[in-house]
Symmetry: C2
Subunit: 431 residues, 2 copies
Amino acid sequence: MDAAIKSRGDTYADDSAMTISPLAPTTTPEIHPVAGVTLAAGAAGVRYTGRTDVMLARVAPGSSIAGIFTQSSTRSAPVLWCQDALTDGGMAPAGKPLGIVVNSGNSNAFTGRAGEESVAALAATVARVLGTDERAVYQASTGVIGERLPHAKIEAVLDDLAAELSPDAWHGAAAAIMTTDTFPKLASMTAQIDGKTVTISGFTKGSGMIAPDMATMLGFVFTDAAIAPGALQVMLRESAGGSFNAITVDSDTSTSDTVLLAATGQAGNAVIEDAGDARAAGFRAALDDVMRDLAHQIVRDGEGASKFIEVGVTGAETDAAARVIALAIANSPLVKTAFAGEDPNWGRIVMAVGKSGEAADRDKLTIRFGDILVAEQGWVAETYREEDGAAYMKGAELAVTVDVGVGEGRSTVWTCDLTHRYIEINADYRS
Amino acid sequence: MDAAIKSRGDTYADDSAMTISPLAPTTTPEIHPVAGVTLAAGAAGVRYTGRTDVMLARVAPGSSIAGIFTQSSTRSAPVLWCQDALTDGGMAPAGKPLGIVVNSGNSNAFTGRAGEESVAALAATVARVLGTDERAVYQASTGVIGERLPHAKIEAVLDDLAAELSPDAWHGAAAAIMTTDTFPKLASMTAQIDGKTVTISGFTKGSGMIAPDMATMLGFVFTDAAIAPGALQVMLRESAGGSFNAITVDSDTSTSDTVLLAATGQAGNAVIEDAGDARAAGFRAALDDVMRDLAHQIVRDGEGASKFIEVGVTGAETDAAARVIALAIANSPLVKTAFAGEDPNWGRIVMAVGKSGEAADRDKLTIRFGDILVAEQGWVAETYREEDGAAYMKGAELAVTVDVGVGEGRSTVWTCDLTHRYIEINADYRS
């Protein structure tokens, strides 16, 4: 089949598609190199022209790796490959590096047997150029769904990329994996373990949770700390709960979502074998910060976003229930359009709480916009003035806090508003 | 508080708000009177000016009644009143009628103790004007949330409405309960029970599932068949599964959704005591038709709708699983915007199936647009041509069928597309 689904990047109706999100960070972050990690980016022409679209990372021998993936039942061939590879234990083969190869422009999802062949071919070539085993090669693809990945185009640039690997190529790597993203997304922190300074640096892409055909969420985070694979997996999963798994743009889940965390051990700390080890507390706080920063950047680049919105829920039966309620608010089209319209429509918040299916005491419900008490005890607050709510809504960074009055459960998620631009990006083109 | 949330009807940016949906029925349905049912509509000025906003129905002594309601935990005062009243057994008091009073413009939701006072006051006045008991008065309110219902305005017109009750006032009643609806929604059928002709007539409102502040779904269906309350409740609930509970505009659930079904028994059939009674089969088929017709009209008036979309799922583990998958497709913003863009983007269907959380065999997935085979066995169909899909998408009535390849479960739901007009209606005004 020929180009069953066109790239949106090819068919934007106007140049504004390339306008950087108004919510983008205003400064370019400084990214600290991570000992044992080298990167390179290149242009393979998978779909795009005039830009890079392949990223190769080499992670030194002795490293551990962890991963989390989409829960989709129609997940892509590279996701299935990575999940299988992780069953080997999450360590680089003895004396050999780990490889990570990522392409944009084609997600290699819903491609049947051909997708598996492409993954196997890429693993073989990356293993050759990096001098490692095929199952030590992790992969991710993002872009159009349902078209065969032209893996030979990627293979054709891998020798060059292997020769160009550099400890400083973070921004280039982050740019190569972008699809509808309007800016590259990077973050970097340091922490201490056993008096040793350890670094965490990473990058991500995505402009929705969303979308099989362009806006998959991918994240790659690296550290020079020494952490055993089992502990690393626990740290990644728990950190994701407050970052990549706590954001939503439009409630749609990609077939390709992937976050990998690799640890080279070159910082020289004694290996952390248990995620609960007190020596790792500072590291874990820094990891949380990096992951949350990256996740927030995705929301800030949400398709059509004009507002960055934090939704906090307290007083639920459990933390899980609080999360369900927070997501019901964050995913409600009526709530999201109200924010787009700068309308302090707290009635829609009440509606979303009610539809969540979780316990809430209507007559104890408290709603705040920022510090403004909007509703309490089942009705609008006596002190609330509509003009205060309206003025608050004009900001670009908004917080909604809801206490549902039945318990101690709490959760925070982040989302953006639903604007005309979202419709333009997702409807106003023809394939 | 003064007008915390403005009526959207007051603040549309342009006259196109009043344009009738392009998906509206092109003919006005003939509504058969139902023996024992009389109706009246009036203008109480609850919020709107220059239109009717109150509907009163009198349902003759000897009638039974059944109801289904929103599952919201923040449901409105009238919903709680009706649910409580039904616990009396669903029969009119001996020798006295049932009353139904409905207003538009204010939903009496999230109004605390004041909401309960309004409901009690209305029940007392309707009981007086109809000569019945307060708990025989059923109520529904739709409109702005969080503002005290000015029930005295409604009470002030009830004597006149009681004097004007007519067996033919169906269209007037349907118009009085509209909020953002662009056309009144009515349906009528006849059937046979025991050789007696029985009539089913009803009306509904809603232009989303959605929204506490304007677009609640209300439905009122009447028949002259003789059906015991328990059987009537079962029939209503089961019929709703394929009608009012099988539609979605934007996944948001109102605090006020209410569907009532009343049966006067004046057709003269021997009372149906059991919903499974074979004598009721024809009646139930007609009830299904009326309910589905009304539900479809709500989708056809979905906010901003330009396409009416049937989503059928087969091959799921259970019917319930099929319904979850169908709703995942029907509620996906990316699927809905693709339809708005007339884009045959089957990749987004694959994504939605995958995110549903229900079992699906990626490698047996079959997708059809109408009769066009789009994908099978985990990849695009060899016979599929993109131009066929694109041509199909230009229609206003579309069907997507998905077989997920794991079982015998099936479900059908109906939805509409997600357009700029939805954003305009829900964001492009200021309160």
